[in-house]
């Protein structure tokens, strides 16, 4: 049975590194893996989504509505936007950070309130976490992506060593310690 993980957020938040890490880990575990990314114009601060699928044999590179076992959202509004992709019984991990989209910045729309509660009330299994504070604690606001991967690892059947091995393969040596710290902060939060 193919398992589905979506990583959603705002262009520039580092979703490509997160999906690279996840893809690496899942392949090392002996899975067939497909990862579908967004490059190009949408990356310029737009809503971005990455699909990670794994299992014995994976066909489609993308995940459709109602299919995601996990959604990891790097930003709260994006969690609400992509919630409809969550499978019944799936889990959505939400960074509670708010990044205003342009319609909100220019006053044409409002950033919706109480999104985490609204998602919970709709029946979603929501794990909300302040990943930005943890990333800052690890040493860089840019490590939000790895904090959230650490959080995901709590629900995953993979050893800490396996995650660290994947991290070492994906992160440049000079940022490795920072990212390891960010990962553990997310995992233990």
């Amino acid at each position: 049975m193919t398992k589905n993980i979506m990583i959603v957020g705002v262009g520039g938040q580092g979703s490509l590194l997160a999906s690279k890490l996840l893809g690496r880990l899942l392949m090392n575990q002996g899975n067939d893996v497909k990862v579908s990314e967004v490059h190009g114009m949408s990356q310029r601060g737009g809503s971005v989504v990455t699909y990670v699928r794994y299992g014995e044999k994976v066909y489609s590179p993308i995940i459709d509505k109602g299919q995601a076992d996990f959604i990891i959202s790097f930003e709260k509004l994006e969690a609400a936007r992509w919630l409809t992709y969550l499978k019944k019984g799936g889990k959505i991990i939400v960074n509670t950070q708010e990044i205003d989209p342009m319609p909100v910045i220019i006053g044409a729309a409002e950033y919706p309130a109480d999104l985490v509660d609204k998602m919970k009330n709709a029946g979603a299994d929501v794990d909300a976490i302040d990943a930005l504070s943890l990333a800052n604690e690890a040493g860089s606001s840019k490590a939000v992506n790895i904090v959230l991967m650490g959080r995901l690892s709590k629900y995953f059947d993979a050893t800490e060593d396996a995650w660290m091995e994947a991290l070492e393969a994906c992160v440049p040596p000079k940022f490795l310690e920072l990212n390891k710290k960010a990962f553990m902060l997310g995992r233990n939060a």
Partner: protein, 577 residues
């Protein structure tokens, strides 16, 4: 070795293993990474060409000289390269020549949704279409063999979901190819009418031979399952079909989408009760089936617009599709925006303030068209800003000359702006052209170009002097401004719009995302001084928002460009004195 690889990286690997010697491309999403990955192999000469036509002709020259060659582009890039394509098809190759074209169904990063398979048919060039990264690698190697066996360039066609999806590939070793000696052969290589007339029948014979090849090639394969339904498909659609149907339907999976195998399609259709063609965009395979008398359904069930997915196909076929949960909430859209510190922002603010009519071009600066700047009014294709402002001003004369501006990026200018500029200089329209020089090809992810002085590997290269070039083309008025300096930009714009002759303004400041660009500390808003006038909000900077009715600067985004400070009449925005 087994690796998880992007489709684009896998194509580069396949080209490398096949012994490619020369690669020349112009960047374009979703094709760019192929050439970036080739550039990592020292055995291969690689380069960014100024545009796709040049890239294809470079690859043609290298093939003639006897080295396997490659050029890659996005779908609209193939429009630019169409001129050499149609005639190189007649001439053929010496060493193999492979052309990548990457379509973008769904227009993730494109201005149209054209289907490049029509080019294969029109130019009489075979086209392979991989459906995952393993096939990307395999087909790249096969394409060279086909090219040399049939004396033709060969297309590899991808789409965004193939190019930008990672899947597992098995890599091999590179096979070095000896240079095939170049032989002077005027009847083969000089396409003047007398020779071309003799070549055309040879090309038609080649297509017949290629169709015979397609009938037996293992990349076109039948996967027999249930016989109630037969599906003809290719590319990423094949993956969605497998996801929905598994073994329930029989599938004819085409790895070669031109020429198509008539006999194989007829045989397949005879073994199943009904046939459906599942293909993104145009009914290309469907129309071929109609032509050869095979009854199929296709576009009456499936859309010609946008990309497919497993749910879309399931629903179209009357099968159950997954539904997700949602909340009853109006979720604001999050379109792409110019980055905090983007040098284009100051320019577009100034153009907006001066109520200019802006004819735009292709690049990050196309985002000058979105709110709150709303400063770009027209955008068609690479280079069109300069050519069309000339037509605009010739049509309206003084009525438009004093307020109309063309905006084009540095890389786009080198791509196809120069010929338009020559026309302005030659036929003398009183046009004002702004070249936004951010010292990189930005939107496709930072590629070098002839104005940056660096090559694809980041090593020193030839450097074209933009000011000297414009002057040499006949422009007396060539001004350079820093778009972070709003007063200067405004002054120069007004002067050049008022001038009674054509002028070029170079708005120069490197992209804020370039690694070598040093950022200033973030600006801070002093809430005691902020009068909530929202002047700074007119910039559309993603780092600025209103919190508790005061301007608020997001310190994680702000790069201290100081443009907002220049708009604050109350000195509320502080820092970077």
């Amino acid at each position: 070795m087994k690796q998880l690889m992007l489709g684009n990286t896998a194509i580069a690997r396949g080209l490398y293993e096949a012994g490619v010697g020369v690669a020349s491309s112009y960047p374009g999403t979703p094709s760019t990474e192929v050439t970036e990955e080739i550039a990592k192999y020292d055995e291969v000469y690689s380069e960014w060409a100024p545009n796709e036509k040049v890239a294809m002709e470079v690859a043609f020259g290298a093939s003639l000289a006897g080295k396997r060659s490659f050029c890659g582009m996005k779908h609209v890039g193939l429009n630019v390269a169409a001129d050499p394509l149609f005639t190189i098809s007649y001439i053929g190759v010496n060493a193999g020549m492979v052309i990548l074209v990457a379509d973008d169904p769904g227009m993730h990063s494109s201005q149209n949704e054209q289907d490049s398979r029509h080019y294969a048919k029109a130019s009489k060039v075979p086209m392979l279409e991989p459906s995952d990264s393993a096939e990307c690698l395999e087909f790249a190697k096969l394409a060279f063999d086909i090219s040399e066996e049939f004396d033709t360039p060969v297309f590899i066609k991808t789409c965004t979901r193939i190019a930008h999806s990672q899947s597992i590939v098995e890599t091999g070793e590179r096979v070095e190819r000896p240079v095939k000696p170049y032989v002077k052969d005027i009847p083969k290589n000089v396409m003047m009418p007398g020779n071309a007339r003799k070549k055309h029948p040879i090309v038609e014979k080649r297509m017949a031979d290629l169709e015979a090849y397609a009938e037996k090639s293992p990349i076109n394969r039948v996967e027999m399952g249930g016989t109630k339904l037969g599906i003809i498909t290719s590319s990423t659609s094949y993956q969605y079909v497998k996801e929905v149907y598994g073994e329930e339907a029989s599938i004819l999976k085409l790895g070669m989408v031109w020429p198509l195998p008539t006999k194989m399609i007829k045989d397949f259709a005879s073994k199943v009760e009904k046939v459906i063609v599942i293909e993104e965009l145009d009914p290309f395979i469907e129309e071929f089936c109609n032509k050869i008398g095979v009854e199929v359904s296709g576009k009456e069930l499936l859309p010609m617009i946008d990309e497919f997915s497993q749910n879309l196909i399931a629903k179209a076929m009357g099968k159950e599709a997954c539904e997700g949960i949602s909340i009853d909430e109006n979720i604001p859209v999050r379109p792409p925006v110019m980055c905090a510190g983007c040098p284009h922002r100051g320019l577009f603010y100034t153009l907006s303030k001066n109520k200019c009519t802006v004819l735009g071009d292709i690049g990050c600066y196309t985002l000058g068209a979105v709110a709150p700047l709303n400063a770009m009014e027209v955008n068609a294709c690479m280079g069109a800003s300069i050519s069309s402002i000339h037509g605009f001003n010739k049509a309206l004369g003084e009525e438009s000359e004093g307020k109309t501006v063309a905006v084009i990026g540095d890389s786009t200018f080198m791509h196809s702006g120069m010929t338009g500029l020559a026309n302005v200089a030659y036929n003398q329209s009183n046009s004002t052209i702004v070249i936004v020089d951010n010292s990189i090809t930005g939107m496709t992810g930072h590629q070098q170009n002839p104005l940056t002085g660096l090559n694809i590997k980041g090593d020193p290269a030839g450097h074209i002097d933009l000011e000297a070039l414009c002057k040499a083309m006949g422009f007396n008025r060539v001004r350079v401004v820093d778009p972070y300096n709003l007063a200067e930009t405004d002054k120069v714009l007004k002067e050049e719009l008022a001038a009674k002759e054509p002028s070029v303004i170079i708005s120069r400041r490197p992209c804020a995302l370039l690694k070598y660009v040093k950022h200033n500390p973030p600006i801070k808003c002093n809430p005691d001084k902020c009068k909530s006038c929202k002047s700074c909000m007119r910039l559309g900077c993603p780092a600025i928002s209103m919190k508790n009715n005061k301007a608020h600067i997001d310190e994680t985004l702000c790069v201290g460009c100081n443009v907002c400070k220049q708009l604050c009449a109350f000195d509320a925005l502080e820092g970077n004195e």
